[in-house]
Amino acid sequence: MSGFLQNTFNGLVGGAFYALLALGLAVIFGMLRVVNFAHGAFYMLGAFGAYVLLAEAGVPFWAALVIMPLALGLLGMALERAVIHRLARLDPLYNFLFTFGLTLILQDLVKSRYGVQSSPYATPAELSGTVDFGLFDFPTYRVFILGFTVLLCVAVWWVLGRTRIGTVVRAATERPELTRAFGIDVGRWVTPVFGFGIALAGLAGVLAAPMRAVNPLMGADLIIVVFAVVVIGGLGSIFGSVAAGFGIGLVQAWGEAYLSDFPIVSQTVVFVVMAAVLLWRPAGLFGREEAPA
């Protein structure tokens, strides 16, 4: 029983990363109809930034947790203004291609400077050790990640659902023309929302740094899994993306624990689930109507 709980906990922690990345993808997609391939690259930049800040400037984890999302968010806003914005008027595939190219560039820039080997990042001292849950112990850092991510998702949900800004963003997502007709400047919110999505990716990267190998390729494979996650959840649905993220994390962790003879299972289960969802509900589990793609 305690083993099962432990695996479940691990799955939720793994799912937290999917959820953060899928959440960023979903808000960006909602506002701009852009699927950001470079999301994984920004995640990688978040982790690498934290590593470089610590190794070369001695900036601690907590500061990096604030600095990197802010810096990447600003970078994302500049990117949106400079390029994404112009391409968004065309077929969405062009932005997909553009951000794909950007991914290759960012990866190789980091690779040529720091090589492909993984760099270690120490867990911050305050979060080392374990928490005793009675039935099992759990690393404090993972508990922190899970709590932090859940709080963040609730906060985003609250902002979108309960505040004026959120109302505008949701309205602009669903009926841009009508929202504009009410005299609301939709364009004003596009850039901040894009920056926010990128900042979430950067945040996920910083959180991942002490737990996962920091290397230039860490984001690329992850983003493909996240794409499958948002296809499962329904990219148009923010709640669906987050829920699918946690769900896939759970399924992967259980697969890893109980089918450990078949490592292929935990790697590929997400794609199998995606295939099943496509058969059963092509629009995604929580995608009510098909979002224009």
Binding site: R89, L93, V231, V270, P282, A283
Partner: protein, 358 residues
């Protein structure tokens, strides 16, 4: 940018209304959109002598190629040309951007390699086996993927290609994992084809056959229906065409052609590594098509020649970060050169002939 300027991909949308091509075909908004003329159809409207001159020039260039380049690079160009054309068949003529075509290219490379090593068949038969395996794999993937369109189609195909990659990576007893399949023979009825120069001329007829098949598909009634589906799926369905089945057929045919290229690639390199299944390979195929010109068919051949030649030159001159250049090409082409080479030339020719108004 005028509406007619971007063949294949859809023209810029006004900010309102549902974008076209949603999977659960949203009815409104995709009513009467003028079909963008594809570069190929443009050339098809050129005078006969222009077309024959272009064909002759292309064939001559193909015959001359290994004399002007390293033969090994020339072989790579042939394989990639086939790969690009197979992607354009979907992207340009069916309106589906497959971002996972490495699955077919790579599967065929592995199957070709295994058949060549273990059965010792002449290489064209091994390649045929590989291409058939790729087409077979395209059936389930295509069946699921055509349920979505647009950007979702790209994500779904990308995800399935990654699944194939993981399976190949884990299935070490067959694929040799990261070591790759080594020593793929170039058996051909006892002829000595170890020299890349002669091998090129053995490969050329197969590639030309593949390209001719692609041309034939596009210019058949079937191909016309595909273009109709690309431009207005709702109307195609209303006219009674089984849209999903047409898309799936196009997907499988495209997978076969990609497999043909991948199998030849395996025999050409006498080695198959996991790279053939990697997502960067899928992406490179798409950018080769965009560079050449979406919906132009032969543009992909030009794009393949340019990209393969450039990458060879870069790796030869000891440049490490090839992704920087490939990514740079991606970004520049998407930002500044969306019509691609062939599309741009066709566009100029059209303007000069005053054929713009149909």
């Amino acid at each position: 940018m005028s509406t007619s300027s971007e063949p294949g991909l859809r023209a810029p949308q006004p900010p309102t209304g549902p974008a076209p091509g949603s999977a659960v075909d949203t009815p409104a908004g995709q009513a009467a959109r003028p079909a963008p003329p594809s570069g190929l159809l443009t050339v098809a409207r050129a005078p006969g002598w222009v077309r024959y001159a272009l064909l002759a020039a292309g064939l001559l260039a193909a015959l001359w190629l290994p004399n002007g380049l390293y033969p090994a690079v020339a072989v790579d160009i042939l394989c990639w040309a086939l790969f690009a054309v197979s992607v354009d068949l979907l992207l340009g003529f069916t309106g589906l951007m497959s971002f996972g075509h490495a699955a077919f290219w790579g599967t065929s490379a592995y199957v070709t390699g295994l058949v060549a090593i273990h059965a010792g068949l002449p290489f064209p038969l091994a390649v045929l086996a590989g291409a058939l395996a790729a087409a077979l794999l395209a059936v389930p993937i295509g069946y699921l993927a055509v349920k979505r369109t647009g950007i979702y189609f790209a994500m779904v195909t990308l995800a399935f290609a990654q699944l194939v990659y993981y399976v190949a990576n884990e299935w070490r007893s067959v694929t040799q994992g990261e070591n790759g399949l080594q020593g793929v023979p170039r058996e051909f009825f006892g002829l000595d084809l170890t020299d890349d120069y002669y091998f090129y001329y053995a490969v050329l007829p197969i590639v030309l056959l593949g390209l001719a098949a692609a041309w034939r598909i596009v210019h058949s009634p079937f191909g016309r229906v595909l273009v109709g589906i690309r431009d207005n799926p709702a109307r195609a369905r209303a006219l009674g065409y089984p849209v999903h089945r047409y898309k799936l057929t196009a997907f499988v045919l495209s997978g076969f052609l990609a497999g043909l290229g991948g199998g030849l690639f395996a025999v050409g390199h006498r080695f198959v590594s996991l790279d053939v299944l990697h997502w960067t390979t899928s992406g490179k195929a798409v950018i080769v098509v965009v560079l050449g010109g979406i919906g132009t068919l032969w543009g992909g051949v030009l794009g393949a020649a340019l990209v393969v030649r450039l990458e060879d030159w870069l790796s030869f001159s000891g440049f490490e970060a090839i992704g920087l250049v490939t990514g740079g090409i991606f970004v520049l082409v998407v930002l500044l050169f969306r019509r691609g080479i062939w599309g741009t030339v066709a566009h100029w020719a059209l303007r000069r002939q005053g054929l713009r108004r149909r």
